[in-house]
Symmetry: C3
Subunit: 427 residues, 3 copies
């Protein structure tokens, strides 16, 4: 009975057409062209490497896509237990009519060729979106992205700000900032002006959010222009900053960006907890990890100082989820956002989804985003989430709290879609 109930609820949730509020899609090449685009996703290359394949073998220069796929397939037998592999299999089944139990050295080549043929369809991108039930995809754009040449109603710009906050000391960041804004960076005031121009540009192209990923020890603090000025001047002379100065620069830039989010009424997606390049010899994008010793208490000044800015917060460490639940339960401007990266594992999603639905106002929860680099991933990732969500709705709400099926489904729809529309202001 509970199995059938779950199936019915899942069926309803599967009908819902979605907005994906955080991805790394390149709108000029949104869908895959070969299986190499799919298997090249860092989730597969890093698992292949971690399970024993040399990085050089995976990332060899000049490797043809088909050869790369052939090599990675050799390693799949080591990782076919993982949920990441289950996404791969599901994509092949749903999009390419793959029917075998596993992708192996014996069957991959025909799969490769069949799928390449399908992806060569002129409207492949539309097919994927349609089959995935996806009508809008949020991007993560570099701050100097011209934002032209694509349909911003379908692919919604979002301003990624990591470089501005953490790499201002790099000449290339400053040059890009000057070029993008038309403001020469000579002092703190010119930085503020330049940032304002970026926001104007993004706003003019329909941007719906500002976004940043932050290391576990980041603690936002207000920094006056006067305190930042000498640090900036040191940067401009090319002197290497000490740790305190780097923190001052990052804190200043971050606070300015938040002020612009306030001024321009943009939500600020905070993705909290990643340490970059912990394993520098790892594959591309497979080098980052985390330190669970972090707390949202580090953001108390920020949350208090900007009540008018909505902060959709993602946490990398699963141990941070209860803090996220609690801060969202107290602060009007803190919203739970998806299940990020190392927390995007069913055992953790389930626990986190349950605790959020049990204790955070339902209008403050963005259920899921795919974080995808290629469109094909939305289908299996959202399906994974929908299955878990349907399970929580079944057990905690219909069976556990005597809710009607209809009401449970509406709660699911709200966290899957309704809140995305309202929080990011697309409706």
């Amino acid at each position: 009975m509970s199995e059938q109930l779950w199936q019915r609820i899942l069926g309803e949730l599967e009908q819902l057409v979605l907005i994906d509020p955080h991805t790394h899609i390149n709108p000029h090449a949104a869908a895959s062209t070969t299986l190499a685009d799919i298997l090249g996703y860092h989730y597969y290359t890093e698992l292949a490497h971690a399970s024993g394949m040399d990085r050089e073998r995976i990332e060899q220069d000049g490797l043809e896509p088909k050869e790369r796929v052939g090599r990675l397939v050799e390693q799949l037998g080591h990782i076919d237990n993982t949920v990441q592999y289950s996404w791969l299999l599901e994509m092949c089944r749903e999009f390419f009519d793959f029917e075998d139990d596993a992708i192996t050295v014996d069957n991959w080549e025909s799969l490769y060729d069949d799928s390449a043929a399908r992806m060569a369809d002129s409207n492949w991108e539309d097919q994927v979106l349609s089959q995935s039930g996806l009508e809008q995809v949020y991007l993560t754009n570099d701050f100097d992205d011209p934002l032209t040449g694509f349909d911003t109603a379908r692919y919604v710009p979002c301003l990624r700000t990591d470089d501005l906050v953490f790499h201002l000391a790099s000449a290339s960041t400053r040059e890009r900032l000057s070029a993008a804004s038309g403001v020469e960076v000579v002092d703190a005031g010119s930085i503020v002006s330049a940032l304002g121009r970026l926001f104007d540009h993004f706003r003019a192209h329909g941007a719906r959010a500002c976004a940043i990923s932050l290391p576990p020890d980041f603690e936002p603090q207000p920094v006056s222009q006067a305190s930042f000025e000498p640090v900036l001047q040191s940067i401009l002379t090319g002197r290497e900053l000490n740790q305190d100065e780097s923190r001052t620069a990052s804190a200043f830039m971050f606070w300015q960006l938040t002020q612009l989010c306030a001024d321009q009424r943009l939500p600020f997606d905070l993705m909290i907890g990643v340490n970059r390049k912990v394993y520098p010899q790892g594959v591309y994008q497979g080098q980052d990890l985390f330190d669970q010793r972090t707390s949202l208490i580090q953001f108390r000044h920020l949350f208090n100082a900007f009540p008018q800015v909505t902060f959709p917060v993602s946490v990398l460490a699963q141990t941070s989820n209860q803090e996220l639940v609690s801060y969202s339960w107290i602060f009007p401007n803190v919203v739970t956002n998806g299940h990020w990266w190392y927390s995007n594992v069913p055992a953790y999603i389930e626990l986190d989804c349950r605790s959020r639905l049990q204790a955070v106002p339902k209008t403050k929860q963005i259920g899921y985003y795919s974080d995808m680099y290629k469109l094909e991933f939305a289908l299996p990732k959202f399906r994974m989430y929908r299955r878990i969500l349907a399970g929580v709705l079944t057990h905690d709400f219909v069976l556990g709290a005597c809710w009607s099926e209809r009401r449970a489904i509406e709660l699911g729809e709200l966290v899957l879609r309704g809140n995305v529309e309202r929080i990011f202001g697309t409706s």
Copy 2:
């Protein structure tokens, strides 16, 4: 089958008459007089605020109770997924025969009036206690509470010591201490005498525990009277203390209180992990949060120094539960105590309840307390816990470990009631 088994076990646990070992009940006004007393609980005001209602609208001066309820009801549609809301609905159904699916702008007024009429019964307080299966309620008394004018056999005094430990530098705390103890606070020795008088007073009125809530970075340490004396003298001259001095004062006071618990054979309830006023613009009692980076290792000196004092420990961060399990498994004087505040969410209670029942001696577990401000809350909160407890007994013990139903029920009764009696010495 397992559903029916669960129902039977739950049915037995529901029969049990309880002692609630930690509440914030005012014994002079224990039950509610209108729905405003219930909806005024910070769990509702903070969720209403966090989901979008202005604090001013909730806490406006001079607001009539009925108007306040009307306003809060407007916001309930945002939080009707939460377990907190489910308590509200359950109270209305159980106590006021409310039969609708939800409390809305259309039906709240008659609910308000009906419930007010019921609460006006002269024996409403007795009705609530009887219907809730509650025979004794522990209080959290200010240290200068006269403890008179109520039945201390029903409402058991407990000495709350936060002000003494953390606000001794405030003149009003010292004045209250002098007034309550009859000892003028002039030096460390007089503080020690005054504290002794407080304990005598509480003991004479049947107090069963001393209690305190502690911030995540608190680390108890012995402080000699000689080291404390200059700090106290600074306080008495009105000089502001630096952080080290504040810590010395808090540590001294805390250690003295523990010594008195030892001398007077009182358990010391430690409620570990709350940061006060993280969101100072929040509603009343909706401003506190936490930092998960805390450890029971901070209490090693305390637990070793006072083997004769029982410490019922509550942890605010769910991530602290495994430490609590482990410290209770090793230290004879550490006891697990309930599921506190931000950990009082079914998804977390279930995990914490399971791990405790699997690894902590059964005689060292206080299953639950309501933490309530008004009597009506005991029923839904304890029922939530009993449902979870019955589930764990069903799955982990009867089905998983082949226990008889009877034996599982007895384990449930022990953590729900038997241990409360033995640990706090009321039987």
Copy 3:
């Protein structure tokens, strides 16, 4: 249906003959001779003590085994809810045909006598191994163990290195090192030579791993011989080291041992997170606890510096499990290893097992080890794990991901046995 499926999968897993990759077995007295050997396990003495029995009563000098058991049995009624007690009952049922529901003051004596008679069988050790389905047991040998007088094909030596890393300042450690290696410890170079001899000795006797337990704040760092030399000279003059010097000594020794693991191709078992003697008045081996505030980020330099060394990692804090999953998913040389001590509780094993099977390459997971001191414990401990593992395979893989039963069973066999063989190189 899922119940029957689980039973079938469990039945298959129960057939598997195992290698236990981490124990504290004394190969010269591997099996128990009386029930006192079993009830003397610190899991029982510490729970008995924590639930109210005086240490002196448990550890009284000259106590006869039978009297000790009689005393501990008095306390079992306080801890019969625990999973540790369930192991005891299961051992008595499986090995000694005990049929009562509980071990009590009324029935223990006949159980004691019956079991003593059984254990007196000349081939008791073989019987236990055979009945437990165990063919190889890894040891934890002191660095100066002669490794003679036992069958190293059955009892596999592993080099425990805690003393070398953390107690080099103790004269007895250095004397033991000199005696075992035949190298007089006079300078850093002689230490390096001596360590090399130890490894040669262990390797010659079939050692399969090096192992160490580490406190939560330990952070491996390379230390040059030149930096270590003055610290060693201070040690040799008998001067007490300050904290920095102690850290230098520990870091140097640890790094040297890891280098030897690299040179001699031995995996290095890291058991991360224990604080020793937190409760010094506790029973023997019942004094250690932990601080959950630890992170695998502390091991970044180590994992990067030694890509050729496999590190099977155990974490004491359950909150560290997600880091372990993530680090194993990224670093080729990090492998998940069992469920250690305070994390060896079903509620935690289940969550940890699920997340590992969902996100770590299947070839990088060592499912379980018993950590036992006496052979009889392998049966109930591994059975506990097999039950949980069968549950995860049933729900997450067969039912949740449509795997065939056969494939799910093979995954179970891999983490239970296949990976142990491959990772430690015994096959």
